[in-house]
C-alpha cells in the first residue's frame, strides 16, 4: 500500500527542514522560554509584592494575556509593533521590525504570563518559615528571594515549567499566520511543492512527537535529580 508514497522526498528535504525550519523553531522556543521565565518571575514577584501599585498592573497584564487567543496576539503584534516603534522613536515611517523579532516579542510576552502563574505557585509553595529564617539572618529582600526562595521555587516548578515549554515548542507552529517558516512551515512548503502532503505531514507529526515525548521524559529525570529533600 506504500507504493504510491515517496518517502525519498523527506530525505531530499532534510537539510531544508532542519537547518531552516527546525533551527527557527528551536531558537524561538529557547529564547521565548528563557526571557519568558525571567519576565514571568518578575511579574510573579510583582503580583506577590502586596503593593497595589505593582500588583494591579501585573495582575491585569496576566489576565489580559490569558484571555486573548494566541494567533490573534501574533497577528496583532506583527502589525502593531512597527507603529509602536515609530511612536517611541518619533520616526516618520513605521519601524521595520522583522518577522523573527516580532515573533520573539509576542511569544515572550505571551509566555511570560503563563510562567508568571507557575512561578507564583512555586514561590507560594515555599514555607513562610524559610523567609523568616532568611530575614532573621539579616538578609534583605533581594537576598531572601535570590538565595532562598527562588532557587527552591524554581526547583519545585521545573516539571511544570518544562511542560509549559513543550507546549510552547508546539505553539511555535502558529507563526504560519505571519508567513514565517518554522519546522511545520518548511514541511508544508515541501509538501505543496512536490505534492507529497501525506508523507511530509506524517513526518512532521513524528518529529514533533519524538521531540516532545523525549523532552517530557527528560523533565521527569531532571525533576528527580533536582528535587529538594525535605
Amino acid at each position: 500500500m506504500f507504493s504510491n508514497f515517496d518517502f525519498e522526498v523527506i530525505v531530499r528535504s532534510l537539510p531544508y527542514l532542519f537547518y531552516t525550519g527546525m533551527a527557527f523553531t528551536l531558537l524561538l522556543t529557547a529564547l521565548a522560554t528563557i526571557i519568558g521565565i525571567i519576565v514571568g518571575t518578575m511579574l510573579a514577584l510583582m503580583r506577590l509584592s502586596g503593593t497595589t501599585l505593582l500588583t494591579l498592573p501585573a495582575t491585569a497584564y496576566v489576565n489580559l494575556m490569558r484571555s486573548v487567543p494566541f494567533v490573534l496576539m501574533i497577528f496583532w503584534f506583527y502589525f502593531l509593533v512597527p507603529y509602536i516603534g515609530q511612536w517611541i522613536t518619533f520616526s516618520v515611517q513605521p519601524v521595520k521590525v522583522g518577522a523573527f523579532a516580532s515573533c520573539l516579542v509576542t511569544f515572550t510576552l505571551f509566555e511570560a504570563a503563563f510562567f508568571c502563574e507557575i512561578m507564583r505557585a512555586g514561590i507560594q509553595s515555599i514555607p513562610r518559615g524559610q523567609v523568616a529564617a532568611a530575614q532573621a539572618l539579616g538578609m534583605t529582600y533581594p537576598a531572601v528571594m535570590g538565595y532562598v526562595v527562588l532557587p527552591q521555587a524554581f526547583r519545585n516548578m521545573v516539571p511544570v515549567l518544562l511542560t509549559q515549554t513543550i507546549v510552547l515548542f508546539q505553539d511555535t507552529s502558529l507563526v504560519y499566520v505571519i508567513s514565517v517558516t518554522d519546522f511545520l512551515g518548511a514541511a508544508s512548503k515541501v509538501a505543496q511543492r512536490d505534492g507529497r502532503l501525506v508523507e511530509m505531514y506524517t513526518f512532521a507529526a513524528c518529529v514533533y512527537f519524538v521531540i516532545s515525548f523525549a523532552a517530557s521524559r527528560a523533565a521527569q529525570v531532571l525533576q528527580r535529580r533536582l528535587a529538594v529533600i525535605r
Binding site: 530575614q135 532573621a136 539579616g138 532562598v148 529538594v228 529533600i229
Partner: protein, 245 residues
C-alpha cells in the same frame, strides 16, 4: 533601660484580637531568660517582635540600644546581630549543611569564602556535626538539623540568641542533644531568650523565668523564686500541670 534587650509596654493586635498586652521586660547582657506559658499565650510572638519579624502597634523594643520599630533602623543589619532558632529548624533544604552556614556570612557579613568556611567548620565541631558538613539538611535527623541551625545562627557572631520552642518539633530522644548545646552556650555567657516547655533546662541555666498567659506577662521572677513559690495562680496551675510527670 540598660539591658541588652528592652521590651517596654509592647502591645500587638491581629485585627481586633489583641495578642500582646502591655508587655514589659528586659534582658541584661549574659542573662538567660526562659519564656513559658500555655500555647497561644503570645510567647513566640513576643520574641519575634525582638528582631522585628513581627510588627507591633504599641510600645518599644530595643536591642543593644537600637529601636526595632524605628523606620530609620536598618532592620536587616540589626537582625544579623541577633541569632534566631526556630521550632522547625528552617535550614535551607537546597543547600548543603556547610553552605547553610557560609551563605549568610558571605552575603550578609561580606566575609570571604575561606574565612566563612573555617568559621562554619569550627561551629559544626562545636555542635558535634563536623562529619556532616557535606550533607543536605534532609539527610540529617531533627536533632542534628536543629544543632546545625544553632551553628548557623552562631556563625553570625550574634550579640544575643532567640530560641522559639527549639525542641518542640523533636522526637523525645533528640531533645537532650539540642538542650546540651544550649546549656553549653548559656554557660559561655551568651545572652539568650528561650521560649520552651523544658522546665529542666529552665531550672538548670535560666537566670529568670517569664510566665505568659493570654498575651500578658503574668510573672517575671528569678528562676529559684518562680519554681519555689510562684505568686500568681495561673503560673501555679501551669507548673502543676507541666511538672506532674
Amino acid at each position: 533601660m540598660s539591658g541588652m534587650i528592652d521590651i517596654a509596654g509592647l502591645s500587638k493586635w491581629y485585627g481586633p484580637t489583641q495578642v500582646l498586652k502591655d508587655c514589659t521586660t528586659a534582658v541584661a547582657k549574659g542573662e538567660v531568660v526562659v519564656v513559658c506559658g500555655p500555647s497561644g499565650s503570645g510567647k513566640s510572638t513576643l520574641i519575634k517582635c525582638v528582631n522585628g519579624l513581627e510588627p507591633f502597634q504599641k510600645g518599644d523594643v530595643s536591642v543593644d540600644g537600637i529601636p526595632v520599630s524605628d523606620p530609620k533602623t536598618d532592620l536587616p543589619r540589626l537582625r544579623a546581630r541577633i541569632g534566631m532558632v526556630f521550632q522547625h529548624f528552617e535550614l535551607f533544604p537546597h543547600l548543603s549543611v556547610m553552605r547553610n552556614l557560609t551563605l549568610p556570612q558571605i552575603k550578609v557579613l561580606r566575609r570571604g569564602a575561606e574565612e566563612a568556611k573555617q568559621k562554619g567548620m569550627r561551629l559544626l565541631e562545636r555542635v558535634g556535626l563536623s562529619a556532616h558538613a557535606g550533607k543536605f539538611p534532609g539527610e540529617l535527623s531533627g536533632g542534628q538539623q536543629q544543632r546545625v541551625a544553632i551553628a548557623r545562627a552562631l556563625a553570625m557572631d550574634p550579640i544575643a540568641m532567640l530560641f522559639d520552642e527549639p525542641t518542640s518539633a523533636l522526637d523525645p530522644e533528640m531533645i537532650q542533644e539540642v538542650l546540651d548545646v544550649m546549656v553549653a552556650l548559656a554557660k559561655d555567657g551568651m545572652t539568650m531568650i528561650v521560649v520552651t516547655h523544658e522546665m529542666g533546662f529552665a531550672r538548670k541555666v535560666a537566670h529568670r523565668v517569664v510566665f505568659m498567659d493570654n498575651g500578658e506577662i503574668i510573672e517575671d521572677a528569678p528562676t529559684a523564686d518562680f519554681f519555689g513559690k510562684p505568686r500568681s495562680e495561673r503560673a501555679q496551675l501551669f507548673l502543676s500541670r507541666i511538672l506532674q510527670h
